[in-house]
Symmetry: C2
DNA sequence: CAATAAGCGGACCGGGCGGTCAACTTGCTA
DNA sequence: TAGCAAGTTGACCGCCCGGTCCGCTTATTG
């Protein structure tokens, strides 16, 4: 589209600084941190932040877009894995590990208004659906589970651990493991409600 | 302590109106709704709200305290139930059903500063620990699960469904069911991380 | 090295928030 | 029913937030 000439060296560095500071700040203190705090953490002025990202939501969207794209790629690569059950578990592990601490709600909050994020998210969701379908056909997950279910449950381990004050770093793995056991065919009980259509 | 004379009739009614309006508003639109909106929904002035609740957090704490107390009572009653596994599931069902939609984070957010809420929460947690212990001894849940695990997972069904745009009313039951299957002994895989000590 | 445009920063703005207050209304009681 | 304490109200306050703007700095380039 707009053939934009490359960023000046310092500007490129500052952009990276801002993205990193914002990611940390969002992760540690939630989506409500002020842009002033983010800029301060990056060691830059507030004006600089707004030169790089027109709005606070755009900054959030840039971070989320990165992560979703990375996840999408991981998902696609895992489609060729030998063990479909292990592949799905691996995907969920990467997904939960990538978004540390409390930046769980990233997926929805940012996508509301940004078309790029929405599109990337849908591509990533498609990967998940395929992973789940493969795992189901292989008997690695129960028959009554859908991709939409897994997408919804994907962030739960992070959510759950965000409520323990000084959580040890790997605690989320415990809850991913429990939830994944709930997805397995062994000992599965019939589900009381059909899955949602949307995601 | 302070022998306070009973509220005037209209004041008592308004207090109930405010609590109901706040509960609805928090549930529908999250904890960030303005006190002005809550007062408007109750059909009252903002000043009236602050006469009944010194601060917005106090209002939230009053709501949360009610719910936690109710949950504590349910938990204690279920301790006498014949089937410990069914009792635990019933408790989790009541817990998830009680806090509809997105008011999931009630437990932590409000208790941060309010001593009453903290105390009530700890009592309720004690009930959960007992329910889980009984269920474990009975073989209804896996041996490596603790009360703290269940407390953390308690709100997950609501959290998960809060991300589907127009969720059908009972959808949370699906995810409670999946997660509960993950708590059962059949098909359980060893957990990769010890449980947290705190709750 | 000089010229210049790209980048930077912080004072500033409008708006919305939680919370206050003094003038007004109303349920209770004797 | 008269008197008054209890209750109500919305205009108002100070604060902080996202976002703007313009004078200043600096990387780039011929």
């Amino acid at each position: 589209m707009t053939s934009t000439r490359p960023l000046r060296a310092d500007a490129a560095r500052n952009r990276r600084l801002l993205l990193a500071a914002a990611a940390d700040e969002f992760a540690e203190r939630g989506l409500d941190v002020s842009v002033a705090d983010i800029a301060r953490r990056a060691g830059l002025g507030k004006g600089t932040l707004f030169r790089h990202f027109a709005t606070k939501d755009d900054l959030l969207a840039a971070i989320v877009l990165d992560r979703i794209d990375a996840l999408k790629t991981v998902g696609e690569q895992l489609l060729d894995a030998a063990d479909p059950g292990a592949a799905l578990l691996e995907f969920l592990t990467v997904a939960a590990d990538q978004q540390r601490q409390r930046d769980l709600s990233f997926l929805q909050e940012a996508g509301e208004l940004n078309a790029d994020v929405t599109r990337a998210r849908e591509q990533m969701f498609r990967s998940v659906h395929k992973l789940v379908d493969r795992a189901r056909e292989h008997g690695a997950v129960r028959a009554d589970i859908t991709g939409a279910d897994v997408i919804l449950l994907m962030c739960a381990p992070n959510y759950v651990t965000s409520y323990v004050p000084d959580a040890p770093p790997g605690l989320w793995q415990r809850y991913l493991s429990i939830i994944f056991d709930g997805l397995r065919p062994e000992g599965a009980h019939p589900l009381p409600h059909p899955p949602p259509a949307t995601p």
